[in-house]
Amino acid sequence: MTKIALCGNPNAGKTTVFNALSGMNLRVGNYNGATVSAFEKEVTKDTSICDLPGVFSLSPDTPDEISACEYLENQADRALVVVDGTSPENSAPIFTALREMKIPAAAVVTMSDILRRDGSSFDCEKAEKVLGIRVFMYEKIEKNQLKSFVLTSEYSVPSCENEEKLHSDLADCVKNRREAKVCAIDRLLFGKHGNIAEFCLVIAVMLPIFLIYSVISPLISSFLEALVDFLRQIFLSYSGGMPYLLRRFVSDAVFGGALSVVGFIPPVMMVYAYLTFLEESGIAPRLCVCFSPFTSAIGISSRAAIPFMLGFGCTVPAIDSLRAVDEESAKRASYVLPFFQCSAKFPVYAAFAGVFFGRKFSLDVLLIYACGVCFALAFGLLLRLFGRQKRICDVVELPRYRMPSFSSVMRSSGEKCADTVKKIATVLLLISAAAWVMNYVTVSDSKSLMQCVSGIVSPIFAPLGFGNDLSSASLIAGVFAKEGVLTSLSVFSGEGGVKYVLRELFSRASAVSFLTFFALYPPCVASITKMRAEFGGLHTVKCVMFQFAAAYVSSYFVYQILNYLAILFLR
């Protein structure tokens, strides 16, 4: 099997070339570190291609760069170097390293659209003479020709010796190079009134997420919930002959569980589409710069701002993207990453806000998300205070702005939507079924199995104001999937509905305390597993313990303060 490695500078378009060659749809992004691990795919019986994370040279210092270099050194038979046509000289260290390793290579030049827009062009013939290998433009050949071109092209070891000379020779391959110009947005961001502009950018970026959750979501949710309820009624009216237990199970566990979360699929899909837009447009790296006072305050690299942003969607890919950050920062960021509220928590917040805060629903949801960021900052500062001090210095590459294609945004959000539906059909259905069985099966003294199990845990939560069996059981369900909290509460409530059970179980103070605990306690099993794979078991245990302690202490203080204030005002 011949292994062809796709290597090159970060953000040069390697994944785009890989997708064109393999017919896959791997995630692309307009920033350094969009690809964080090597991904191999067979394209013919005896050839496979591998998409590698971007590197500037073969002396790596982040986990993603290390994995790329290891693959090139130990596994690759050939290398297809993806060269950014706007700055080909940056690939010089890669060509000299390939020569030293004696790896046969060919090069594909991308970004020809930007060159065309600038009135520049890339001289492939000159590049071939300089490098001594085959060089071709990506956009000059059709996508179906690309595969045969890559597979049949002649690969040879680069002939360049002197890196300095190669650097200037490659720079000369760009004809009519224009001087770099700063676009209007960047002039505002990094100009005289940059502080205000950066603050405005952060607000402008966050606002659509809050709008989706607080304005658009309630409109769509109510429609979908009505639809599921309608289907439930049809089922009940036509299932008279069914065994009673099975009928109750389908009605309470399947329809009841689905009813609690189905309404939140469209907003989650919209948030993912928006996050994809931010990633592909080039706004995400600018956010890193805007968030640098926040990240440097907690002693981590500003590049961690992208994983934090992705955390608003789902914690699992956010942990994955920490690979593009230096190890020290990644480990520290992993402690506070789950405090950025993922989209799976939204149904729970929406249900609680609807019951306890009525009209101010949207503002409360907004407040919860803002509180999550504040908690991340506060606990990050605390970690820095007690942890080892290390000066974090940062360089962030700011790519050109690019308008993402509608199809790529829709494809990405469609995949996430499919994942959410799959989760509802598998994990959440299992949680519903388990909750229903545990609630139905009586063990001893007319106590249900759920009461017996959660009875062991509930005294721990008593000082926080929600030491009852149902809320304890729902928090356990939330460990498997965050939406599980609402699904299990919905199953426990039976025909009364979630609103009824929430009013029965919580006062306002205990509801806020419960939400504080829910917002900060360890993430779902999938995230914990991912964290273990990235940072090892010991660090994961430390993270989980830290997050549990942070949730418990914060929730305790919130409950006590709210009770104190209530007593104060009642006097």
């Binding site: 500037f56 210092d61 190079r177 700063v182 960047d186 940059g194 640098s292 440097s296 360089v395 700011l398």
Partner: protein, 84 residues
């Protein structure tokens, strides 16, 4: 007097400054012999010409090198020397 002024101009144009001291639009050649590894990997090393395009709110600098823009944070910009 005129002679002295020219010498002063020459002196100031040749002096070493930190990247953080550059003004927007100014170009400088990096003279720092040992920039940190994470700066070198972007190609910003001794002898390369960078242009300052702007400053960030937190005191960092935006430089252009080889057709690409880089945001360098304040602490780092205060360490890398360059000659105008």
């Amino acid at each position: 007097m005129g002679y002295n002024m020219d010498m002063t101009e020459i002196y100031f144009s040749m002096r070493k400054i930190f990247l953080s001291e550059l003004k927007v639009g100014e170009e400088a050649v990096v003279t720092e012999e040992n920039p940190p590894k994470y700066v070198q990997k972007y190609g910003i090393k001794q002898g390369v010409r960078v242009k300052l395009l702007g400053k960030t709110a937190s005191g960092g600098v935006i430089v252009c090198y080889s057709g690409k823009y880089f945001a360098i944070d304040k602490q780092l910009a205060e360490r890398i020397t360059a000659r105008l």
